[in-house]
């Protein structure tokens, strides 16, 4: 019996004895990490459509000055739901979806450590999201922004039930996110295949590990704040109510000591995806593995010490600002390290410009714009001018869309053949890439200028001065282009699943273990695996079996037996 022990949960793999029919009931009851991963992605798409529709309605309202398309009540509900949805119900589930799907495959395990908890995390997130959206039927959605500042979030100023649904919904969604993160931490620590020491873990696995720890640390302040707010609203306590001796500023401290780590929670896993994508399409190992991983750890630690840069105009005083200006500037350094290491990975490589790689390269440009505009908020006097203006709207969309989403799309085009068993037409993929990238920049680049010209955020309308009208109209046109391209992406994905060319096991000549197994993987991921000797076990395998030109059939015959594993593994050891 050659090969290696494949870690799997102690209980028999749940569902192995279920018939292989992929009916709806089987999906709903599944505890298989691959099906749950895909369901997470469907969840993200569902809420992306809802959050995107809210964004388009807002852009219609803002297309012309003084428009009465939406009432201010409706506008405020829509922008609150747009932000909350995109952060908690689109980006987070998309990241968790890829994490729970790819991580066990990448570390050579057959499932996550706690498959049932995995299913719990998915469904509690789904029901939390539904509860949040139920508020529209129950008398009004939350209307105080996703940041939900006190005292505007108090019953006195927001008497509808929306904010109660916000608290309850996010507590549930948060429980799912924390549960899944703990699951990922345990899986990554205990379920790696033989030989995959921490120093040989792929960068994506590292980023998910760091990120999951970040989730576990960041969500408690949010949960505390939400619970306190629910008490304020339901039982007349006064944590945030000035009249009862509370303090509105406490909400901001609690919210942002969650909220800023959350920003990094949404970017670290995409950093990991991009690291895989750059390596494979450059045919080179990641440049400066230690630095890329180390800078991820640095970001995670610093993330807990920067929250006051959201509060530089609350009058806390220059002494406090000094500390948080320093920490916020410092966090730019490890982020910069990553950008240059990815360029270093491409340097001297043999670059293949697949759709996935195009998104990764575009990410470098968009995310650099977003990162640099972010430095503006660390430089306190510049923050004093630009915070709470449309400049922030530009910045955060360059980070969340140009950063996180571009990273996730690079990952989607990279892993789609593995997940679906079908290739995406490169031609259609590239159409989507250009439409989406142009639409995105058209929508959000002008927001920088609006902010510089003094247009505040979160306004349902604006006066016809200072050229606001033309810039806003441009943004609306861009938003519809983005909206159209998202529908086009869904069409492409559906078409690929229905009629796309069948995907081989390893279509990209990749490096990591998930490409050893079939596309899509069987319910049991691996029967046999080679022991891991380096960061790129699949490359080692291909080299050792003299299989220079990969084909579909990496079958078990070519798995090295213990006797014929040559020195070639050690040679490329990092």
């Amino acid at each position: 019996m050659e090969g290696t022990y494949i870690p799997e949960p102690e209980e028999e793999l749940p569902g192995l004895n279920v018939s292989n029919s992929q009916g709806l009931l089987q999906w709903i009851s599944s505890v298989d990490h691959k099906q749950i991963g895909i369901l997470y992605l469907f969840l993200a798409v569902l809420f992306l459509l809802l959050g995107g529709a809210a964004a388009l309605l807002m852009r219609i309202q803002l297309a012309l000055p003084g428009s009465t398309f939406l009432s201010p009540e409706m506008y405020n509900q829509l922008f609150t739901m747009h932000g909350t949805t995109m952060i908690f119900l689109v980006l987070t589930p998309a990241i968790l979806g890829f994490s729970v799907y790819i991580i066990p495959l990448m570390i050579g395990a057959n499932d996550l450590a706690f498959p049932r908890m995995n299913a719990f995390g998915l469904w509690i997130t789904f029901f939390g999201g539904l509860l949040l959206y139920f508020s529209f039927l129950a008398g009004g959605a939350p209307d105080a922004g996703w940041f939900n500042y006190a005292p505007l979030n108090q019953r006195q100023y927001s008497p509808g039930p929306g904010i109660d649904y916000y608290c309850a919904g996010l507590l549930l969604v948060g429980a799912g996110t924390v549960g899944t993160s703990i699951n990922l931490v345990v899986t990554i620590i205990y379920f790696r295949v033989e030989g995959m020491t921490l120093g040989k873990m792929p960068v994506f696995v590292w980023m998910v590990l760091i990120n999951s720890c970040l989730v576990v640390g960041a969500f408690p302040p949010l949960n505390a704040a939400l619970s306190m707010l629910l008490l304020d609203r339901q039982l007349q306590s006064h944590f945030f109510n000035l009249m009862g001796g509370g303090s509105p500023i406490v909400w901001q401290h609690l919210f942002w000591s969650f909220g800023h780590p959350e920003v990094y929670i949404l970017i670290l896993p995409p950093f990991g995806m991009l690291s895989e994508v750059f390596q494979v399409y450059s045919r080179k190992p990641i440049f400066g593995y230690g630095f890329v991983v180390g800078s991820g750890i640095a970001i995670a630690l610093l993330a807990f010490g920067v929250w006051v840069h959201h509060m530089f105009v609350t009058g806390l005083g220059n002494t406090v600002y000094n500390f948080f200006a320093a920490s916020s500037m410092l966090i730019g350094v490890p982020t910069g390290i990553k950008i240059f290491n990815w360029i270093g990975t491409m340097w001297g490589g043999s670059l293949r410009f697949t759709t996935s790689m195009l998104f990764a390269i575009a990410f470098l440009v968009e995310f650099t714009i977003g990162g640099l505009s972010g430095v503006a908020f660390a430089v306190v006097p510049v923050d004093w001018q630009l915070t709470d203006s449309y400049f922030v709207v530009a910045h955060l969309h360059y980070v969340f869309v140009g950063g996180s989403l571009f990273g996730i799309l690079a990952g989607l085009f990279y892993w789609f053949p593995k997940m679906s068993g079908h290739m995406i037409s490169e031609k259609l993929g590239k159409w989507f890439f250009w439409l989406f990238t142009i639409g995105f920049n058209l929508t959000f680049f002008v927001h920088h200028i609006l902010g510089i010209k003094g247009m505040p955020r979160r306004v349902y309308t604006y006066p016809d001065i200072s050229g606001y009208s033309l810039l806003n109209l441009t943004s609306t046109i861009g938003a519809f282009l983005m909206g159209f391209s998202v529908l086009f992406l869904l069409y492409i994905l559906r078409k690929s699943v229905k009629t796309g060319e069948k995907a081989p096991n390893d279509p990209w000549d990749a490096y990591t273990l998930e490409w050893i197994t079939s596309s899509p993987p069987a319910l049991k991921n691996f029967d046999r695996l080679p022991p891991v000797y380096s960061l790129r076990p699949l490359r080692d395998l291909k080299q050792s079996s003299q299989l220079q030109n990969h084909t579909d059939g990496i079958n078990t015959n070519i798995l090295p037996s213990k006797s014929d594993r040559g020195g070639s593994f050690e040679k490329n050891d990092n």
Binding site: P285, V313, Y321, A325, G344, M346, S350, V379, Q385, D388
Partner: protein, 314 residues
């Protein structure tokens, strides 16, 4: 009148404080442009030079280069240190601490208008705030309800107005003129219509303005306006609005003593005309949804009398 006459932009500094901040804006733009050019330049070079060609052998496998890494860490670190030094310096120069000085004006954010009280005088006004040009003045910023934020882009920094907290902002306006801004912290339904207008007067004009505005309201000029004054006090108007020199001493709405000398209504929402005042009294919710003023079912004559009275309060 002067709407749009000055360019609202952080690149149009009109106060000494904004001037102090603006070199930092420029340094940041230069540094960001430099990094952007480096990143995009490298990407263009890399994507052209290292494009895969058919039959390429596996390229040389480079894992690390400590010299390159040292530059990657060192250069950003130096840039960040420079900006940190500048930040601390500019921050302390622009907004020194307030040591017991009496503010020139106390501005209170309300849903959704600005109240301005001038300590040492009886002047109370709303939304259009007069300040002397060429003099370093201190603004005291407060809130009556939720968090608001005071921002005039040409004056540099913004500052939150938080219930239970007194915040301060220094401003030294360069020359007389009209400067616009808006509430910059989301404060509810009418956050969009909480615009600010600062009228900077020459010191002499400013003294004259203070003198004029500290006077009680003009008595009604004609019988229609007189009827309006009676209605104003008899109906609920006086419960919320003050008109100094009359029994109307309400505190929850804007002071209307000199309403007719303002150029706009409802925090910049519309120009101050009889027609607009009438429209608003007839249907406050329809004009500015969410506004605190209730809708009174007045007869046409009653409204006309009120409008005649109010539009006379120079």
């Amino acid at each position: 009148m002067s709407q749009g006459s000055h360019v609202i932009s952080i690149f149009n500094p009109q106060s000494a404080e904004a001037w102090k901040l603006s070199p930092l804006n420029n340094y940041l733009i230069i540094a960001c442009s430099f990094i952007m050019i480096v990143v995009v330049g490298l990407l263009i070079y890399v994507t052209i030079k290292f494009r895969a060609k058919a039959g390429d052998a596996e390229p040389k496998q480079i894992y690390n280069n400590r010299t390159v890494e040292a530059f990657m860490i060192g250069i950003p670190f130096l840039m960040v240190s420079f900006f940190f030094y500048q930040t601390v310096k500019v921050m302390n120069e622009t907004e020194p601490t307030v040591q017991g000085q009496v503010p020139t004006v106390v501005i209170t954010g309300r849903q959704w208008w600005w109240q301005a009280v001038y300590p040492g005088t009886t002047v109370v006004t709303a939304n259009e705030i007069h300040l002397p040009a060429g003099k370093k003045v201190l603004l005291q910023l407060e809130s009556q309800d939720v968090i608001h934020d005071w921002w005039i882009p040409s004056f540099g920094p913004k500052m939150d107005m938080i219930p239970g907290v007194k915040n301060y902002l220094w401003v030294t306006i360069g020359k007389p003129g009209v400067y616009e801004g808006a509430c910059s912290e989301f404060c509810g339904k009418q956050h969009a219509w909480m615009r600010i207008k600062v009228i900077a007067d020459s010191p002499a004009d400013y003294q004259q303005w203070l003198l004029n505005k500290s006077k009680a309201a003009l008595p009604p000029a004609d019988t229609l306006a007189l009827a309006g004054a009676v209605i104003f006090n008899k109906k609920s108007c006086a419960d919320c609005h003050s008109i100094r020199g009359t029994p109307a001493q309400g505190k929850s709405g804007p002071d209307l003593t000199h309403l007719a000398s303002r150029t706009t209504l409802l925090a910049g929402m519309m120009t101050n005309t009889k027609e607009h005042i009438k429209r608003f009294i007839n249907n406050p919710e329809g004009v500015k949804p969410g506004v605190r003023m209730p809708r009174f079912i007045f007869k046409k004559d009653t409204v006309n009398a009120l409008v005649a009275y109010l539009s006379n309060l120079k």
